[in-house]
């Protein structure tokens, strides 16, 4: 159709354009003809003028020798006028024949002019002059004849030209009349054809649309071409689409009906406006089952009839809220037909159908869920209690970062942190892991196996103490996060005890061997000693030999002492327990020791006493305590060969219910390796020591249930710290 419109418009344009061109051409042709006519007239006039000019010159010539003769100037001027008139004849285009005639005429004019000049200039006798005049006149007359002939030709040509031009103009006028008459008729015909071409298919389309509107979806338009053909195609496609759309709608409705009826939740369509607001417009099978009403009965009821009286009062507010555009989601109670009340979860949204407003509500019976929730709550409570009250260190932390989410009281107590310091922080930030690699290993195992059982780990408390612990962990999902729940048992004390037991066993074994050996050595040694003493007493040897004997006897005595110490350590005498005032005991020991120190020529030692008053008495063997103290004092004095301060301090530790005795010197510090071994038997730093003194001291203190430790002082020197528990009943560790 577009093509036809374009063609039509082009045809119209061409008609008008060609018409316009034709008119312009016609006018131009007519004016050209008129121009030509005028030109031909001009030619005739020009030739007439030439003739007049020639005649004027002829007249001048005739009058020359009369008394009416013109002046030479006039004569010359007339000749020039004639010449000018003849030149004008050459100013237009001419046919070959005319051009030839004109040339001939020009030659004749040339001759005439020459003759005229002669007539004017010549001075001769009359005969000659008359001849010249006659000759000139004759030439002039010939010229007149030629010009006349040309005028006749021009007149003839003018007549023909006029006739032809008038005829042509008449033809053009007639053609213009025809054109002016035919153009509108042609335009009307074309317009009629176009309009017909438009209206027919439009009528067919209108008819088809009406049928479609009436529900006849099977109607199709046939036999149309061009754009209307395309439009008809589109119409048919639309009808096809409508048909398939209808089918889909029907299927969809069927599907939704099935979904509606087979849904597990009760679905209600409730009227939301007017006097019937709240009336159930539709309900599915689940609704009838859930509430115990048959569907017909439900359809007439208000949704408020299914609510408990409290809930029913809020019904209109709820509907208003939903109509306001908010989807409602709440838990309520419904009543069955038999009167039983049950909890429901309601999700309701507004819905507009055919201009009417409804509420679409989904009700779910949540009785079972409620029960489960209750059980879960109980379970949670139990877990929470167990978690908090556990004697083990329990934590819940994120898997990747180790960020603490929950920790129990035991954790707080053992680590020394407060809950606020721990929660939301990572173990890395707190520096809990002594070796972070332990955590990395644990996490990788957890990621792989999901659980780690009884792994020994090392934690650092806030105070900096290292705890050895056994840790069992499990990866859990906690609130959507990957977390670790860990149970950590402190085995620091257990480890220490185990070590001590091990040591005790070792010592016991050594002691038994030593005692056995000492008994075996003791008697032969006594024999050897007696023999040596006899030999020495009797002077059986030379002087040199006597000195050697004395040295042997001295060494034997040292062996005896060692044996005695060994026996003493291995099988100490059973302590005789009494109430002992430590301060008094120390004083007494110091006096004895200082004497001994003096005897040992060690004058540079200053003794400082810092005894706490009112110290409670402890139950102990006074002699054994004294032995321990002496040991310590001598040890201190030996540690200060160049003199120093021996400081003895006592204090009562009420919280631990023990007495503390500190013996400090200002001698050289003890290296770390020696610190660990100093209480072991046979360990000594002295040249002549047996290495039993401190071992025995430790044994004696431990027999009293106390402890003894050695630490280096900050500047120089070392301090022995003894703690003896205050006991109320006498019992001795054997």
């Amino acid at each position: 159709m577009k093509k036809q419109i374009v063609l039509g418009l082009t045809a119209f344009t061409m008609i008008f354009f060609l018409g316009g061109i034709y008119i312009v051409f016609s006018i131009n042709k007519a004016t050209t003809m008129l121009d030509r006519l005028i030109l031909v007239h001009q030619v005739e006039i020009m030739r007439e003028r030439l003739l007049i000019e020639i005649r004027k010159v002829q007249a001048d010539l005739n009058l020359k020798n009369t008394r009416y003769a013109r002046t030479v100037d006039t004569f010359v001027n007339d000749v020039q006028q004639m010449d000018q008139a003849s030149r004008e004849c050459f100013s237009c285009h001419h046919s070959e024949d005319t051009a030839r005639r004109l040339q001939d005429m020009e030659q004749q004019i040339g001759l005439y002019k020459n003759a005229l000049s002669r007539v004017l200039t010549m001075r001769a006798n009359d005969v000659r002059l008359d001849q010249e005049d006659d000759n000139t006149y004759k030439v002039g007359e010939e010229l007149v004849g030629k010009v006349n002939a040309m005028i006749a030709i021009a007149t003839r040509s003018l007549d023909e030209e006029t006739r032809r031009s008038v005829g042509n103009i008449q033809d053009t006028r007639n053609l213009l009349y025809v054109f002016a008459t035919l153009s509108p008729v042609l335009g009307l015909c074309l317009a009629f054809i176009f309009i017909r071409g438009f209206t027919r298919p439009i009528r067919a389309l209108l008819e088809a649309t009406r049928k479609l509107k009436a529900g006849n979806l099977d109607h199709r338009i046939e036999d149309m071409r061009d754009e209307f053909g395309e439009l008809a195609g589109s119409f048919n496609a639309m009808a096809d689409a409508l048909t398939s759309q209808m089918k889909r709608v029907e299927e969809s409705e069927k599907r939704y009906r099935m979904l509606f009826e087979s849904a597990g939740d009760a679905i209600f369509l409730i009227e939301a406006e007017g006097g019937n607001a709240g009336r159930i417009a539709a309900a599915n099978r689940a609704a009838t089952v859930m509430h115990g009403y048959p569907v017909e009965e439900l359809m007439g009821m208000s949704i408020g009839d299914l609510d408990t009286p409290d809930a029913a009062r809020e019904m209109h507010d709820c509907i208003a809220t939903i109509l306001g555009g908010t989807c409602l989601s709440k838990e309520m109670t419904h009543v069955r037909k038999d009167g039983t009340v049950f909890p429901v979860e309601i999700n309701a949204c507004p819905l507009e159908l055919e201009g009417k407003k409804y509420v679409l509500a989904f009700d779910r019976d949540i009785t079972r869920r409620r029960e489960l929730e209750k059980a879960l709550r109980l379970s949670e409570q139990k877990f929470s209690k167990a978690f908090r009250a556990s004697p083990d260190w329990l934590t819940i932390s994120t898997l990747d970062e180790g960020r603490y989410i929950e920790v129990n009281d035991t954790f707080l107590r053992l680590s020394g942190y407060s809950r606020e310091e721990v929660i939301e922080r990572t173990s890395g930030e707190l520096g809990i892991w002594v070796d972070p690699k332990e955590r990395e290993e644990m996490v990788s195992v957890l990621k792989k196996d999901g659980a780690v059982w009884n792994k020994e780990v090392h934690f650092r408390t806030k105070a900096g103490n290292i705890l050895t612990m056994l840790r069992s962990s499990q990866a859990i999902d906690y609130g959507g996060m990957q977390c670790i729940i860990s149970v950590t048992h402190d085995i620091t004390e257990r480890n220490k005890t185990e070590m001590m037991l091990q040591r005790a066993e070792q010592l016991k074994a050594v002691a038994e061997i030593a005692v056995g050996l000492a008994h075996e050595i003791k008697n032969p040694l006594a024999g050897i000693k007696s023999s040596m003493e006899v030999l020495h007493a009797e002077g059986a040897c030379c002087e040199e030999g006597s000195e050697i004997l004395l040295k042997v006897i001295s060494e034997i005595r040292r062996i005896e002492m060692l044996l005695k110490d060994l026996l003493n350590f291995a099988r100490p005498p059973k302590p005789e327990l009494n109430m002992v005032d430590i301060n008094q005991l120390l004083d007494a020991t110091l006096e004895f020791s200082v004497d001994k120190v003096r005897m040992a020529s060690r004058p540079g030692i200053e003794v400082v006493r810092e005894f706490e008053d009112g110290m409670p008495a402890v139950i102990a063997d006074g002699m054994q305590m004294k032995q321990v103290f002496i040991n310590l004092f001598l040890n201190a004095v030996e540690a200060m060969p160049d003199g120093g301060t021996l400081k003895i301090k006592t204090s009562y530790e009420k919280a631990a219910s023990s007495v503390k005795i500190e013996v400090a010197d200002t001698g050289k510090s003890i290296d770390k390796a020696a610190l660990d071994k100093i209480f072991q038997p046979f360990f000594t730093t002295k040249a002549k020591g047996t290495g039993m003194g401190l071992a025995i001291s430790k044994r004696l203190i431990e027999d009293h249930g106390g402890t003894i430790t050695l630490d280096n002082l900050p500047v120089r020197g070392a301090v022995f710290t003894i703690r003896i528990p205050i006991r109320h009943s006498i019992e001795v560790k054997t």
Binding site: I21, V24, L39, Q80
Partner: protein, 312 residues
């Protein structure tokens, strides 16, 4: 869409349409030559002697007058008279301001009015002189003065060197005292060309004229070469020159002279000179006419009293 013709396209169509209209057949109007603008100042009138057919003479000088008018700033008009004598009379009565004179006519006006010669033309071959000739038809049988007895002689004018002074000198040389009695008929054609044509056509037996006019006719008419023979030649005398009144404004005189001398230097002037049949104008003084003076003296002409054939 195809219907929505763009404005530019419309313009193009209109242009094509207009071109079509303009190409339609029609008689082109001939533009009239624009008239020469009249310049302020009084008209200068220059006389022309009828050296040849007077109408041809006027045509020859027309372009020169246009050129001079434009350059000098005053209108110039030629005055042609049928007789040399009339020009001399007009000059003497101050009706004209100057004229292109033949060599003898200059001598006459100079002697009587003190006319001042300014320039003369040099032809395309660089020649600024001419000679007078006496000629007869080859078939006339005239070979010497003896043969001329009882024949018809066509002179040009009494005031011409070639057309009268030469025959006078010739007859004197040949010992003929009264040529009128010796010849059958003597008449004056008025122009050199007519003298030649009259001999050619048999209207006269003997003729006298300028060689330059003869040469000019010879280029278009082969009869000159075939049918004429020259019996006598004069010595070379200066070609026609412009002499003006003695009392003419000096500035104008100088300007007129200068314009004519400089003509050959500008293209328009060259064009006019070419039409005129000259290469240039050269300066000319009374001295240049020495030969003519001598010739006239020999003939026995008294310049002051010689009857040149004027009316006055």
């Amino acid at each position: 869409m195809l219907i929505s013709i763009r404005f530019e396209t419309l313009c193009k169509l209109l242009t094509v349409f207009c071109l079509l209209l303009s190409a339609l057949p029609g008689c082109k109007k001939h533009e009239a030559l624009s008239p020469i603008t009249a310049l302020p100042g009084p008209e200068i009138v220059i006389g022309l002697i009828p050296e040849q057919n007077i109408f041809a003479q006027m045509d020859r000088y027309q372009l020169l007058s246009d050129y001079l008018s434009a350059r000098i700033g005053r209108p110039i008009r030629w005055q042609v008279e049928p007789h040399y004598g009339t020009i001399i009379d007009n000059f003497r009565s101050s009706e004209i301001d100057g004229a292109f004179w033949g060599s003898f006519s200059y001598l006459l006006v100079h002697a009587r009015t003190g006319a001042e010669i300014l320039v003369r033309a040099e032809d395309l071959n660089g020649i600024s002189t001419y000679r007078g000739l006496i000629f007869v038809r080859r078939d006339s049988g005239i070979k010497s003065i003896r043969d001329m007895k009882g024949k018809r002689f066509a002179f040009v004018d009494k005031a011409t060197f070639a057309g009268y002074l030469l025959p006078l000198a010739y007859f004197r040389k040949m010992g003929i005292e009264n040529y009128s009695a010796y010849l059958k008929e003597v008449y004056f054609t008025g122009t050199h060309s007519d003298a030649i044509y009259d001999v050619l056509s048999g209207k006269a037996d003997i003729g006298a004229a300028k060689n330059t006019v003869l040469q000019k006719i010879e280029t278009t008419d082969s009869r000159i070469k075939n049918e004429l023979i020259v019996l006598e030649r004069s010595p070379a005398v200066p070609e026609n020159g412009l002499a003006v009144r003695k009392d003419l404004d000096v500035t104008l005189k100088i300007k007129l002279k200068q314009v004519l001398l400089d003509m050959y230097k500008d293209p328009e002037g060259q064009n006019v000179l070419e039409q005129f049949g000259a290469r240039r104008f050269i300066e000319t003084t009374d001295e240049d006419y020495k030969a003519v003076y001598e010739y006239a003296r020999q003939v026995g002409i008294d310049l002051q009293t010689f009857d040149y054939g004027g009316k006055k």
